[in-house]
Symmetry: C2
Subunit: 346 residues, 2 copies
DNA sequence: TTGTACGCGTTATCAT
DNA sequence: ATGATAACGCGTACAA
């Protein structure tokens, strides 16, 4: 690979002039500039950006920590990140961490060792916590699933309000026996959505029944499994609210296998509005999240932090939308009858 | 950030000794080594890998060009890449290119400018072609959709054989009127799958009807659209073979909306075996591809090229598997009747 | 075993 | 407007 010295030699100028001709052309006479450009062409010169980065101390790389790229929602978020990063001339280093703390810490080292300038975390975990960072401003943004006291800018969605909106929708259809398939127990995201669910129940004067909460892990399979468990209850729920669309689609299949019709026999709701949600049978009622916007915003916030364009630690809350499709409907008329099962007390 | 000089000062040794103590500890006396390690700790020293990379001329980054990360199949491939890259201590730079040649060329510049050591391309396009690269061995691997005369190692699947296998399956069920929803026209992948489809037809002595080939673009929507078109034909196909699962799931919905039952009225087959394929209604018959293995193999091949462990240009062909689920079934008995429509020749 | 000194490719500072 | 040179942080050849 030819270097700036070779170009200088060909153009019969100094390396400084070559650098200037390329970086601040206005400082160089037209004549010299053309000579330089010709030499650049002749030498097939490409500035070694590794050297530029080394000298400037900025890698112009951003690490993205994503629990699983194979998750459709995250894939959309990454799409948005990619778009924003490209516009601002940064590159994205992908870290597929399988939600493993140690893997995430390892990726955070990329920042510590100057291979990346900052990091975007999509999970509620601070990989820098153990890694004594000297910088005052943590070069990090937390998106989607957000730390409770995040030491960095945050971009999120009012998960509590969204879950409340969905639950209110189900309540308005007459459902009183609403199950919820949750995400991992410790996740703040799960906690907030459960809280919103309770909010709606409380507001409607419906008793909260903890046994209607079923754990899941955001996969199709877990939605199927959790639903199977719910169907073993003596009293079947009339609606299932899943914390993401994958689990809802898993639920739909399980219900079908048990001969239940959606929404006639039971309603199902999801969360995220992934592309498959509109193509399930029936199409899924869900909460639409602006996934790409999450990504774009996170990247822009991070770059703002890095370029010191930010004074405070912003908390951006993106809007959600309740998307009504065919998977939710009025509760069955006959249902209230079974609501008080004929149990003989012994 | 503290540097190697500060550590040297603290340990009261030279910078060379510090470097050695960390890189080749066996060359340094135990006593000195401990002194150095203590100083490292005290200074909170982290080697600046940007400097290391600059000096070595190797970025240890790999660019991945993916048409759309939002595609479930590609997301799985990337997962596999990530895994292999991590193991071999490389990082992945993600390039979401929307199948735009110029965007891909821009990403290839990352290699030209030493920001990345090599590139993995998932599409049949050589971004280096216009970018006179001086290196003899192109630092590139082509995976999934492969260039016809790829100037680099290749990892692919026998798409022709796979499409033939699926078509044979449909033929064996009695289907003679099999439509195909294709990918983009120019793609070699599409071409190979169509060829396999024809192979099977020819072998069975079934006439090939070009009008049964319908263009799509691998999205759910395009599968839906293409199916709607197919249903307008005077003579409805008895089976639809889609070139990926998303389009097949789109097809399923369209058929349902037209009141057709799958597989009783019409069979549907996909390609890829994404997770959603097992959860559609009915579950999708499809060709399973080892997506993660694609990613792992591509990364390992590329690193082998970079580290000159490769003499030839290997062509790795991964296995596929015909996965039979509920979306394909025997052709309707009544169908052959309409097979010879009562057309009056004028 | 350890230290000195150079070089990687670029940009910035200071002269001219 | 242009040139000479130092500096970035590190690894290593060579010298001691």
């Amino acid at each position: 690979m030819s270097n700036i010295r070779e170009v200088a030699r060909l153009a019969e100028v100094s390396v400084a002039t070559v650098s200037r001709a390329l970086q601040q052309p206005e400082l160089v006479s037209v004549k010299t500039r053309n000579k330089v450009l010709a030499a650049v062409k002749q030498a097939g010169y490409q500035p070694n950006l590794l050297a530029v980065k080394f000298r400037s101390g900025k890698s112009h790389n951003l690490v993205v920590l994503v629990p699983t790229v194979a998750n459709v929602f995250f894939a959309r978020v990454i799409s948005g990140m990619q778009e924003a990063a490209q516009q601002r001339r940064y590159s994205l280093l992908l870290g597929n961490t399988m939600a493993d703390d140690n893997a995430e810490i390892a990726y955070a080292r990329l920042v510590q060792t100057s291979q990346a300038d900052g990091l975007i975390q999509l999970r509620a975990f601070d990989p820098f916590a153990t890694l004594d960072m000297t910088t005052e401003r943590l070069p990090m943004v937390n998106a989607c699933e957000v730390l409770d006291k995040a030491p960095c800018p945050v971009v999120t969605l009012d998960n509590r309000a969204a879950a409340m909106a969905m639950t209110e929708h189900l309540l308005s259809l007459g459902h009183r026996n609403i199950a919820m398939i949750k995400g991992p127990a410790r996740s703040p995201l799960t906690r907030d959505r459960v809280a919103g669910y309770r909010d709606a129940l409380d507001a409607a004067g419906v008793a909260f029944d903890e046994t209607l909460l079923c754990p899941g892990n955001f996969t199709l399979q877990s939605g199927h499994q959790a639903t199977a468990q719910l169907l073993q209850r003596k009293q079947r729920p009339t609606a299932i609210f899943c914390e993401n669309d994958e689990m809802a689609i898993g639920a739909l299949q399980c219900l079908k296998q048990h001969g239940l019709k959606v929404p006639e026999d039971i309603s199902v709701a999801g969360f995220d509005d992934i592309s498959f949600a509109a193509f399930s049978d029936p199409p899924l009622t869900t909460i639409a999240q602006p996934a790409e916007e999450f990504g774009r915003t996170a990247v822009n916030l991070l770059i703002d932090v890095l370029e010191q364009k930010l004074t405070l630690l912003p908390k951006v809350i993106l809007p959600f939308e309740l998307v009504l499709r065919g998977s939710t409907g009025p509760v069955k008329m006959s249902e209230p009858a079974t609501d008080t099962p004929a149990v003989h007390l012994t």
